[in-house]
Symmetry: C2
Subunit: 611 residues, 2 copies
């Protein structure tokens, strides 16, 4: 029990080591093309790693402000795509790496389109694609957009902006060239001022990591839960970062480091491992390509040290099958009378349950389809549970719907359960509502009912009121003793939804159900909905476990319809020892058989769940 | 039961549709720069998808031979890296996209190094890096290397090779330029012939898919299980394919299609989704960039239709925790005497079990570390099971070792189990051997022993020989009845490892253990090693379940050390009904309690495994 002193995560210890190792290295030169940037301390140095679920690991100067500079280009590109659509944006700005420096005034032959949105020409053209909309100027929209990535309100550093604007003559030349080729449709003045302001937005190293984690997390900011960029454009932004993000060192970057990334002359680098995490590094001295010198080294080392490479295949998605078992290994919670139980034990292997897990995409769902096709030769009923599925893309759901059709043709019914939020998408994919069940248990009941029907119309419960003789616990009791019990055991009736046993109460009675159905319910702490633990019908006993070992009731028992019970009190049960030992033995023998068969079933279920 | 007619996988149906849609489209022109290539049929068209576990989905002309051409460049680059190492190869051949056509004679300023290994200049230089070794020529080594990717012996199409060699003057010029810049160290003649032969290797569309799947599968051919390329160089090959694989359309390819790929003028395209699958497409007509026109369209459509984009974040690796529960929810298989069982129930929450699953990499293991650090405040013993872990990279094991140290400092013991093939790597990572256990069960026993020790030296078993009075099943029997039993119950002794009960035999005896330990064992079909289901010690009963419900023995029971039992026969058990009903009731009552408490424990375990 280590509550007394806080433990440092080994991840932080790793980042500490990295920070210490590289803080001593004095390479590169702080950007000085404007006086405001030249003020940055060459020793400022922060590293932040943000996980896809919003946990931040920070060491060093992760909360010091600096200007975002070119890193903004990648994010504003997302806004342009959202405003204009992919084809329109591609007609103005290419996506081919140029192999040239960031400020090269080179445009594609013929069209005059900038090679890609990461060089200045492309970024200025990108600003031009952002719409003035909803009463907001371009820069207001860009600030709001980037703020969603950061998870907090960002602002322009006015001093840096003025300084950029005063000295941005080369960029003005680019702006007018773009106007000349009609890549920009208007006087470029406003677009250029927008561009200078965008580059002067203040951020911290932690902001960059969160922005990167937002891209890693399909466009949803993991801190706020808010969507920052439409999911369909996340791939595009990561694509241009992967091929053009690091100026004329991009090819080598993706080869050596393997993370889509963008750097800025303010000393920041934002790097993304798609689907996994985001990294922000801040260190102002720049190398000759204009990338943060320490930033490049830290990212390279982290990529190697933590095996974060984009192509690292040890992160291969796994087949989505979590458990797979037959309907005689795991049965529904509903207890069956002997004849029905026998059929389920004998033919239960015609029911197959597959519990899925993880994200469903083509590669995780394809092995499931293969298993289902194999299964079709042996099963009549297949239940697929989505309880542990964390997400499902449209592709996998479409294939699920196709499997449903295929299996139907072959006479195999496929039902799915625990769909949660996926229900609507399942319907859209074409799965009929009758193939969707709420829980595995409901699906098992449904399939067991089919089995019982196929095997000669055996019912899952006794109907009407039954005699004590037909109650399992009294199965070997003599006629005389039955008459005695008939006289001695009080009858109780309960209305539908009435609670028969309250959790926490003393267990001094054993209940024998002579008509109707009851449900054992348990409400886990922190949950509002009760779980159904057991269902018992006429002829069965309930409340025996606490009765036998003298503990308090562990769960509620509720009447599902009108219920009649006979009640055996502890007093009478004990008196039998002396007064009617043969009756007592007959009862207890039967209870032993019942418990023994339940324990057997529980052990089968445990081993099915274990394997 | 659909065994009667085979079902077509929805994946094949999808590929059928794709094939039908694009076979009608007649774009592009078959390569005709040499007569042999011009012979290819413009209608030949095959699509093959190979999964990471070696399942092939094929439609159309997937077994027709054609020459590999430039696709060989990507694979031979792997051989060059293996022969010379990354830094040496990088000093001769760059990795920056050139934005130029495949046959451009452009070399980097200053060094004369080709921009990348995917243009002809770079590929010829790459051939020059392959060593003549082990009595094998360069081309022999290249053929053997590519054959491992295909999973079968490949051959050079001699007619195509001669034709390439006769007309390869431009490539000869490139060869001599490379010689001039010392990128090639020798007369380029042999290197050029090697290059021409390499391009003339015959493959099929299915071969390309398997080659791609091999790259997707960390370099191991999924059909043969053989390693084709050292794992450390898989990233490099995929990296150059991603940025330079599709000639001067590479940027747009990775932006739109998002799969590292390589095309050849023979009409083939090989595309890889790292960690997931490989695609081969064959269709000879080429577009103006020299890529298979149908191939480009099919790959684009498949990437969109199956959501295969490299940056597709819906495939995000999931946190590796499969189950997590306390040591009072799931206990060891060993049954404990009442006093010990009480302690484990009461203090079992000091033991925490985390079962992990899937591939362990930084992103899947990092949330485990967070959970472990939180857990440290509540637990004294943590068990981490690797049974469902499919792979673990060095990074995750190093962090595991660091967690072990951190938790030790905090007084929490961390043990791991079910390591299988990971044991050696765990040792290398610095985890001490005493922290590794074979199974969860062994680990639970170890931790339970610690609990029992901490809580006042309670033993997990009775020692020596015990009286019937101290056997649980006889706990409420009178002195007189005990004397009766003492006289009536035969004694049996067994040597260590002797089998007491054989699975399949009739169950007409109930065993009461008066000294020693027994183990219930079950050997699952298809397994050689028996599983340990239960361990019982002096004072406990075994064999009761089959005895009670009259079924045959379901498992073996073996003496773990010298064992003494008393045996209650069915005959005597039944006679008691009449002769000594009070004794019978005392025994049966006790059996009911024992079964009831085991059923309770089983239910707790089921719900721990369910959640």
């Amino acid at each position: 029990m280590a509550g007394r002193f806080p433990m440092r995560s080994p991840v932080l210890s790793y980042l500490d080591t990295l920070h210490a190792r590289y803080s001593g290295i004095k390479e590169g030169k702080v950007a000085d093309y404007i006086p405001e940037l030249a003020k940055a301390s060459p020793d400022a140095f922060g590293i932040c790693l943000a996980t896809r679920d919003g946990h931040l690991y920070e060491v060093g100067d992760t909360r010091q402000k600096f200007t975002i500079q070119s890193i903004s280009k990648a994010l504003t590109y997302g806004l342009a795509l959202e405003d204009r659509g992919e084809e329109h944006v591609l007609s103005r700005i290419g996506v081919e790496p140029s192999g040239e420096a960031f400020n090269a005034i080179s445009l594609q032959e013929g069209t005059g389109a900038p090679y890609n949105p990461m060089i200045n020409a492309g970024a200025i053209a990108t600003c031009g694609q952002v719409l003035v909309k909803d009463g907001q100027t371009r820069i207001q929209r860009i600030i709001a957009y980037l703020s969603k990535f950061a998870g907090q309100k960002l602002e322009v550093d006015e001093a840096v902006y003025r300084s950029e604007s005063e000295t941005g003559h080369r960029n003005r030349a680019i702006g007018w060239l773009l106007r000349n080729f009609d890549i920009v449709d208007e006087d470029p003045h406003d677009i250029l001022e927008t561009y200078f302001q965008q580059c002067a937005i203040s951020v911290t190293c932690a902001d960059l990591a969160v922005m990167a984690a937002t891209l890693a997390n399909r466009g949803i900011n993991p801190l706020t839960g808010e969507r920052a960029i439409a999911q369909e454009y996340v791939d595009n932004v990561l694509g241009v970062m992967a091929t053009c993000g690091m100026y004329d060192w991009s090819g080598e970057w993706i080869y050596r480091v393997g993370l889509p990334a963008k750097s800025g002359v303010g000393g920041g680098i934002m790097a993304v491992l798609p689907g996994q995490l985001g990294i922000g590094v801040f260190s102002p001295p720049l190398d000759k390509q204009g990338n943060s010198a320490r930033g490049i080294r830290v990212c390279s080392e982290m990529a190697r040290g933590l095996a974060l490479h984009l192509f690292n295949p040890s992160a291969a998605p796994q087949p989505a099958v979590r458990h797979s078992y037959n309907g005689n290994q795991v049965v529904s919670r509903r207890r069956l009378p002997a004849a029905a139980a026998h059929i389920v034990r004998r033919f239960g292997d015609r029911i197959r349950v597959m519990e899925l897990q993880g994200p469903l995409i083509f590669s995780t769902f394809e092995p499931v389809m293969r298993a289902l096709l194999r299964q079709a030769a042996y099963s009549r009923h297949v239940i697929v549970s989505f309880r542990n599925v964390v997400s499902a893309d449209e592709v996998s759901l479409r294939f699920f719907a196709a499997m449903h059709v295929q299996l139907s043709f072959a006479g195999v019914s496929l039902v799915c359960c625990h769909l949660g939020g996926l229900t609507r998408q399942m319907l859209t994919a074409g799965v009929p509502p009758e193939a969707m069940m709420e829980t595995i248990d409901a699906a098992l009941e449904h399939c067991e009912d089919q089995l019982l029907k196929e095997s000669g119309e055996v019912s899952w419960h006794e109907s009407g009121r039954i005699t004590l003789k037909r109650c399992a616990v009294f199965g070997s009791v003599t006629e005389e003793d039955l008459a005695f019990l008939e006289a001695q055991l009080p009858t109780r009736t309960y209305a539908q939804w009435e609670t028969i046993i309250h959790a926490g109460s003393m267990a001094d009675e054993l209940f024998v159900l002579t008509s109707g159905t009851v449900e054992v319910r348990f409400t886990p702490t922190g949950s509002k909905l009760p779980q159904r633990l057991d269902v018992m019908t006429a002829g069965m006993t309930f409340g025996e476990m606490a009765f036998l070992d003298g503990s308090v009731r562990s769960a509620d028992v509720v009447a599902v319809d009108e219920v009649q019970c006979r009640v055996l009190s502890r007093e009478l049960y004990q008196q039998l020892d002396r007064d009617r030992p043969a009756l007592k033995i007959a009862i207890v023998d039967q209870l032993l058989r019942l418990l023994s068969s339940r324990l057997r079933q529980a052990n089968v279920e445990i081993s099915a769940l274990r394997n």
